[in-house]
Symmetry: C2
Subunit: 492 residues, 2 copies
């Protein structure tokens, strides 16, 4: 009973929410109402009715069926309907011409056979992926009109004029739909795709930042929230994970839209879909990273805190790259690829240095905790550590040429470090062996260090995948002929 | 020119491929052809034509529009079309009754207003997610019929008989479609969903196994294949990642289908979609795991080989659970949850033991390699290591209560080990300090160990997510009232 009482309220809220979330939907509804009223005038006003006649109802039907939310959708359906009707009409006349023989029985059999063959063929053609994607509706209308005309031709004599009327009224309907879509508050699929790409880039940038910060801050909180679907971080990337169908529909519709960029080039909507796909792949790593928050074994916080700055810096750098890409698409500007890569590889270098500077801390969790002072690092100066000499082991062969184009630079960097590191090693060895090595080794708890190692590795993996996204966005920028940034400094 | 020459061949191959991949599509095409021919008889044969008249073409149109590939799709569209037409007809008569006043102008204005209001309202209602999912087509047909009848009523006098004819012919068309769908080689959406769930479970089981085996076997190969879309492993889980839209459509259509399980319960198709969602989340971890294959920094193979057996065993155990679940859905049997969890946690325990038994091996990559004999482990006996006493450090607090219901058992297990471990530690300490500790520490290369740690951690994470999938499949089994397995032994 209570449920029944609450039902009207629920319905009201649901209806209200649709319009509130996207007021364009309200406008579109009014547009459809207006279009239908206008097309009804064909039937309701005497002069127009005399010109077109009873077939005016076909125009009404056309408006109901063709009018879609976006310009691309309306164009796609309208042109499909028009072309389908036209080609079906032509074919029907051709077949009727063939069947123009004496004998009702022969004609009936002939028409029946044609209906069967065309019906089967058209249905089969609709299964072909390319046709299904672009011309599904057209083939259906083709089949519809073909059957209508060829079946009618059996009993009606003036089929030609009937077909002409039908094509004519459909054209009127489609034309009205196009005018309404194109000129009265148009909704462009391409714009939707453009905006959704930007918001996806921004959304994933936020979720990375929040994930990493939360990983280092709130260890206690995670135990409570076990349901991942409730998580605000999850909300951010959920939209991206399941965006495939939406992206492809929008890209398909946008391809029908007559919009050009400033310099009269076609906008490469398909490339937007490609960027979406690479972003989807990128987001799988973010999901895995987010999974680290919820994993049951956690590396003690004191240990995590040692690498906090480097990890957060790397995450911020990744987020920054994503935001810069979002802005570059938003402002139709190219983005400063080299500088971003530099910053990224610097952040990677930082993390590598941090990891190598206290690897035994990562492993010595129990006994080590009290003995080693946890000093804040200054992330901007990777070669100057504020730690005790005891705990510092600089190590060789830092590889950080993940997908960033300036791998050479960082390799040089690491080579320098290697030399320096080897120098230190010899000095450090006697020091280390005496003081605290033993307590470290024996208190080693690998299973506690593992999750943090995974977290770090996923961060690094993310940078590699980011390279892929950057590549696709750069391709997009080139294909769109975005202008290059003139002043390097006003961007940061 | 060459492209034009090859074009017909390409078209032929594309057309051939559709039928070869799914012969049901050929059958469906023939079914549609047959249905259209049968419905054309309404118009072509004299006795039937006399009964129904010109409106027979509406029946033809109905068949073209309503006939879908699956029973659920046809039912959904057919009932939507029937209900939409019926309710629109009733409303149109009601409004026409209201407008039954003298004066053409008044009637025209009244009809125009009604068309505008209903058009806007119906379009708005179609945006509501629940309506959009289930009744989109019905609302469209409602609008179509309403406009048709109310506009016609302005000039035609016997609208009632026109509307009756229309409803009647639509019913005939829908009935024929249903008969053809239901009784002539029916394609059930529910069956598709059932089969796709099974094949997804099997597919992901395969890709996990292949991924892990490849990780330990072919280090050299990965450098060549950089494009992830070419990868056979990728193919296996690609279908799962983007399955959301397909799953939901199938579940929605299946809900319309009149199929019941053995014991006359409704089959919970929505739960299949839920299983699909949890499987999708599981597959994100598999993607991340697969990413480890392609990462540029790799842990040396000699080190990976030490953990090969445990990792492969765990992966096989995970794959086995997935396959058992697939079989349980296939055979409509419950699956032996406890035994599977036991095996899983045993494999986890194994991996933990392996990791704890040579943690320094994982870190000592250069100098350590030659000194430590790599002995094959026997995975079935986690407490008996074949390694030298020198290299063995048994460690405390192995946590393996990830989501498996028998966390208590493994905790006891680890507590036993902890005691044993502490005993060893005191004995081992002097030994260790003298022999090889130093070479280990100084040859520490954390950045090389990291990827392997991530790989292992993702494996463990996968087990946690597997628990979620198992939960959903168990719910499904309960909701479907699958029979319990009688003989425990014939299953393995």
């Amino acid at each position: 009973v209570d449920k029944v009482k609450r039902f009207p309220g629920l319905v009201r809220r649901t209806i209200w929410k649709v319009g509130k979330d996207d007021p364009r939907k309200v406008v579109h509804s009014l547009k459809v109402g207006l279009a239908l009223t206008l097309i009804s005038l064909l039937y309701l006003t005497d002069p127009l009715y005399k010109g077109i006649g009873k077939n005016a109802v076909v125009a009404v039907m056309t408006v109901v069926v063709v009018m879609e939310f976006t310009v691309g959708g309306t164009l796609c359906k309208g042109l499909n309907r028009g072309l389908g009707t036209l080609s079906a009409g032509l074919l029907a006349f051709f077949i009727e011409y063939l069947a123009d023989a004496p004998g009702h029985i022969f004609r009936a059999v002939f028409i029946g056979t044609a209906v069967f063959l065309l019906g089967a063929a058209a249905t089969y053609v609709r299964f072909i992926p390319y046709i299904k994607k672009n011309y599904d509706y057209g083939v259906m209308i083709f089949l519809l009109t073909f059957n209508l005309i060829i079946v009618s031709s059996y009993r009606v004599d003036n089929v030609l004029s009937m077909a002409k009327d039908r094509v004519c009224t459909i054209c009127i309907g489609v034309a009205l739909c196009l005018v309404m879509s194109l000129f009265v508050f148009p909704n462009w699929s391409g714009e939707d795709l453009h905006k959704s790409t930007i918001s996806k880039l921004d959304g994933i940038a936020n979720s990375i930042e929040v994930t990493v910060v939360e990983y280092f801050n709130d260890c206690e909180k995670q135990a409570n929230e076990d349901d991942s679907s409730e998580d605000p971080i999850y909300k951010c990337y959920e939209a991206i994970l399941d965006s495939k169908a939406k992206d492809e529909t929008l890209a398909m519709q946008a391809n029908w839209e007559p919009r050009y960029s400033r310099s009269c080039h076609r906008i490469p909507w398909q490339q937007y879909a490609t960027v979406g796909a690479s972003l989807r792949h990128f987001s799988y790593t973010v999901v895995a990273l987010h999974g680290c928050l919820q994993s049951e074994i956690q590396t003690p916080r004191s240990i995590r805190n040692l690498y906090k700055d480097s990890c957060i810096k790397l995450a911020q750098e990744v987020s920054k790259v994503l935001r810069v890409m979002a802005n570059s698409i938003r402002n139709k500007q190219q983005f400063p690829l080299e500088r971003l890569s530099d910053n990224l590889s610097e952040a990677l270098q930082d993390l590598d240095n941090a990891l190598n500077s206290h690897p035994q801390l990562l492993l010595g969790s129990r006994n080590g905790r009290s003995q080693i002072p946890i000093t804040p690092k200054t992330p901007k100066t990777p070669n100057l550590y504020m730690l005790d000499e005891d705990t510092r082991i600089t190590l060789s062969s830092i590889k950080s040429d993940y997908s960033s184009p300036d791998g050479n630079k960082s390799k040089e960097h690491s080579r320098e470090q290697t030399k320096e590191g080897h120098g230190h090693k010899k000095v450090l060895r006697p020091l280390l062996s005496n003081t605290m090595t033993m307590s470290m080794i024996t208190s080693l708890e690998f299973s506690e260090a593992l999750p943090f190692a995974a977290f770090t590795s996923l961060l690094v993996e993310m940078v590699a995948k980011l390279g892929h996204v950057m590549e696709k966005v750069e391709e997009l920028n080139k294909m769109c002929h975005f202008r290059e940034i003139r002043d390097d400094d006003d961007d940061e």
